[in-house]
């Protein structure tokens, strides 16, 4: 089929476009139906959506917030989509995310003397390892004993979150301090090495990570980097860099973007990804192809867990700088709808994380300006997912493809061949 007739190009384009069209229409339909809800509630949906949009993109501050909300979702979305593509449906991203955040914080408050360029990768590595550790348990169980990973990953969430809450209540070892916040003498034990609680204050929260471990701010980078040498004299550039919102934005969204590209290559350009996708489509066929299925499942669980863990470190290093109880609840579970609306493609994941991040960032503004409750945003999200699933069920893509193949083979005077592609992109 190397010399495709020209007429089929448009059809092929149409097929490809469904990947984008389905989620876009799903989102539009969700907004439409939620609009009815807002009217029923007694507000003007257009004004509400305007406020929502303004809250997400209207000001530099709003954009900074959207970018901050988006970054962890990209990671959990990538974790879920990679897992699902490879036959390992990881619902444990929430727990992996929490453990990742905990590990990154622990490194960030323990190795306080290291320079930033060592400490930040170290934090990220610790987070990835923690996430991977939590995910590889169900991975091993599935690969070696056939346990259902949906159950095991889901239940491990509770283990991870309870452990997280417990660690928040154990004082973190500080060699320079020997009394607690209320002047009670404290005897440091081995347990204190595991804990992350700030010994100098009463509430269950960790101390802030050292400044070196915080992700560099965009403003600071622009002030010192190459761009500054190029445009440093320009008035508009100075103004742009001085904006507090630019100063608040960190490298987090850029790192997220880098990982989107990396995951694209892993999935579609590397053997690991090819084998993983083959196992995801049909493990038996994969085995006949000579792929080591258990090994692939274990590797998949490691990658998926590491991605979710990295998401936790991004939130700690880039935004909150410490862990507290109820630290970014649902970032892991939200990875599932992010992956779904993103059509399980890394680039799609980034776009749908942007959609989710914008909804979250704009929701408060919408409530402040138009009194429409934040809950509407959750309805929009839920409806968007429903419509995306409904759209996927229609499966127009393969219908058109089959029709095209039938035409092609007819033209070539052959019997139509049903084709099952491994690539679902």
């Amino acid at each position: 089929m190397t010399d495709k007739p020209k007429t089929y190009i448009w059809q092929a384009l149409l097929e490809k476009s469904f990947n984008i069209l389905i989620p876009v229409f799903a989102i539009l339909a969700a907004f439409l139906i939620s609009g009815i809800l807002i009217i029923a509630w007694g507000a003007n949906p257009l004004e509400a959506y305007k406020a929502l949009l303004a809250g997400a993109f209207g000001t530099p501050n709003a954009i900074a917030t959207t970018m901050t909300r988006l970054s962890p979702l990209v990671f959990t979305g990538l974790a879920v989509s990679y897992g699902y593509r490879s036959g390992f449906f990881n619902i444990g991203a929430e727990g992996q995310f929490f453990l990742g955040a905990l590990a990154a914080t622990w490194v960030g408050i323990t190795f306080t003397n290291l320079p930033g360029w060592v400490l930040i990768p170290l934090c990220a590595l610790a987070a990835a390892l923690a996430g991977a550790f939590l995910a590889v348990i169900p991975g091993l169980l599935k690969a070696l004993r056939g346990f259902n990973e949906v159950l095991t990953t889901l239940l491990l969430n509770y283990v991870a979150i309870q452990y997280f809450e417990w660690a928040l209540r154990i004082e973190h070892y500080r060699p320079d301090i020997n009394v607690t916040w209320d002047d009670k003498p404290i005897k440091w034990t081995f347990l204190n090495w595991i804990g992350v609680k700030d010994v100098t204050q009463p509430f269950p929260q960790s101390p802030g990570i050292v400044e070196a471990a915080e992700l560099p701010k965009l403003g600071t980078l622009l002030k010192t980097g190459l761009l500054n040498q190029l445009f440093g004299q320009a008035h508009w550039y100075e103004e742009f860099v001085a904006n507090p919102a630019v100063n608040r934005m960190t490298l987090a969204p850029i790192i997220a973007l880098v990982f989107v590209v990396i995951m694209y290559f892993v999935l579609f350009r590397m053997t690991v990804g090819f084998q993983a996708r083959a196992v995801g489509v049909n493990p038996d066929a994969a085995r006949f192809m000579g792929i080591n299925v258990p090994r692939t499942i274990i590797i998949t669980s490691l990658i998926s867990g590491a991605l979710a863990g990295l998401g936790g470190s991004i939130e700690v290093l880039g935004a909150q700088h410490r862990v507290i109880p109820n630290f970014l609840v649902n970032a892991g579970f939200d990875g599932i709808p992010v992956a779904l609306i993103g059509q399980l493609h890394p680039a799609g994941v980034f776009l749908s994380a942007l959609f989710f991040g914008a909804l979250r960032a704009g929701a408060n503004k919408m409530q402040i300006l138009t009194q429409v409750p934040i809950s509407v945003v959750y309805v929009i999200q839920a409806l968007a997912i429903l419509f995306a699933i409904a759209g996927a069920l229609l499966d127009l893509q393969s219908k058109i493809k089959i029709a095209r193949l039938a035409k092609q083979t007819e033209a070539a005077g052959e019997q139509p061949v049903a084709e099952k592609e491994v690539s679902g992109a």
């Binding site: 809250g55 000001t59 501050n61 709003a62 917030t65 901050t68 909300r69 699902y84 036959g87 449906f89 619902i91 949906v150 916040w181 209320d182 204050q201 009463p202 509430f203 269950p204 929260q205 802030g208 507090p244 939130e315 935004a319 909150q320 700088h321 410490r322 507290i324 109880p325 109820n326 630290f327 970014l328 609840v329 579970f333 599932i336 709808p337 779904l340 979250r360 960032a361 408060n364 503004k365 409530q367 402040i368 300006l369 009194q371 429409v372 409750p373 934040i374 809950s375 509407v376 959750y378 309805v379 999200q381 839920a382 409806l383 997912i385 429903l386 699933i389 069920l393």
Partner: protein, 371 residues
């Protein structure tokens, strides 16, 4: 294909949960009409305030008059009808609106990661006082307060003391615990008192220890114990804990579990049906309406007064810092006894409070301002 179906199924379940969570009705019915965010400015209220300022002018301008028309916003962690923590904050805002003519607004269910942006949104919309209700917003309120040095920020249960436009406020600990313990010692007949508390945190632990000391002061043979529900929203578990305590020979239950108190009172009611002596003492807010012949008013932590104290400092132009309010500020006090303990015992408690207020050193109450 099977997996595909399972994925669909799992997603459907998640979606349904999301929809249901979003459509969930507000948990506890509350007489007040609750709207998600309200910006209220009643003509009638403004008239009232005008009257007030006329009266006050005689004793030279009240700084609070400057608050009229100012905009204040609350950042809350849960719904305003939770009957506890956030209801108190809502009442504090309404109190300021009704008394001094402030324009109020609030955001419910504010997650910590969203708090900074919510505060910025309020600041950019012209709100002059921003009130973050809870220790968890410490980092965010600090950050935003420094970004907007001209606006005033209030945080409950915070500890920051060095930002001139940030006022962190807590209740001083010890007074309530001691006095309630003293009361409980005079209330119990079995000499066994039990607390049912939401969750353990340092301030609460100190109040519990003080209540044990207070109890010993009024009734040396009395014993105070406590148990934790593990949540502020679990009536079923609170009821089980109260039941167990009653079966264990306690005849006074002190309840400090916000929404969980419903359960504790229920257990006390059931126990009382057996013609047995039992009393419930409230903490944080008066629960007498739940069982008028069993529940003492107990200890009141008056968040409206607490916040009003801070707003007064703002109006008077005092700089920010950390403020720990004790009984002399009127922000916490004893509720009525409803005649549920003998008059002479009631008098003993009142005497103790009066003696303490006249001279704090004359009573063995150890107040802590650092919790």
């Amino acid at each position: 294909m099977k997996k595909h179906a399972m994925f669909m199924l799992a997603t459907l379940v998640i979606v349904l949960t999301l929809v249901m969570a979003a459509c969930q009705p507000a948990p506890a019915p509350q007489p007040e009409k609750v709207v998600e965010t309200v910006v209220v400015e009643k003509q009638v209220e403004v008239e009232k305030v005008v009257e007030k300022t006329v009266v006050v002018e005689k004793e030279k301008e009240d700084p609070m008059a400057a608050l009229n028309g100012m905009k204040m916003a609350g950042v809350l962690s849960g719904p305003v009808n939770d009957g506890g923590w956030n209801t108190n904050a809502y009442k504090a805002l309404v109190n300021l609106r009704d008394k001094y003519g402030l324009e109020i607004a609030y955001t419910e269910h504010t997650k910590v990661e969203d708090a900074a942006q919510v505060m910025r949104d309020y600041a950019d919309s012209g709100y002059q006082i921003i009130f973050a209700h809870g220790y968890e917003y410490a980092d965010q309120v600090k950050q935003v307060a420094q970004e907007y040095p001209d606006l005033k920020f209030i945080q409950t249960n915070g500890s920051e003391a060095n930002i001139p436009n940030l006022y962190t406020v807590t209740f001083a600990a010890g007074e309530g615990g001691y006095i309630i313990g003293y009361t409980a010692g005079l209330t119990t007949k079995a000499n066994k008192v039990h607390w049912v508390v939401g969750t353990e945190f340092p301030l609460m632990t100190y109040e519990l220890e003080e209540s044990a000391r207070g109890c010993k002061a009024s009734n040396p043979s009395c014993e105070v114990t406590w148990s934790f529900v593990g949540s502020w929203n679990d009536p079923a578990k609170a009821k089980e804990l109260a039941k167990a305590a009653l079966d264990n020979g306690n005849d006074v239950i002190i309840g400090c579990a916000d929404a969980g108190d419903v359960g504790s009172v229920e257990a006390v009611k059931e126990f009382a049906q057996g013609e047995k002596y039992v009393r419930f003492i409230s903490w944080v807010a008066d629960r007498n309406y739940m069982a008028p012949d069993l529940v003492l008013g107990g200890w009141q932590q008056d968040v409206p007064v607490e916040i009003e104290n801070i707003v007064r400092m703002i109006a008077e132009g005092k700089p920010g810092g950390h403020f720990s309010l004790d009984m002399t500020t009127g922000s916490h006090y004893m509720n009525p006894f409803y005649g549920l303990i003998p008059v002479e015992n009631e008098q003993k408690v009142v005497d103790l409070i009066n003696k303490y207020l006249a001279d704090p050193k004359s009573v063995d109450i150890k107040v802590r301002y650092d919790l």
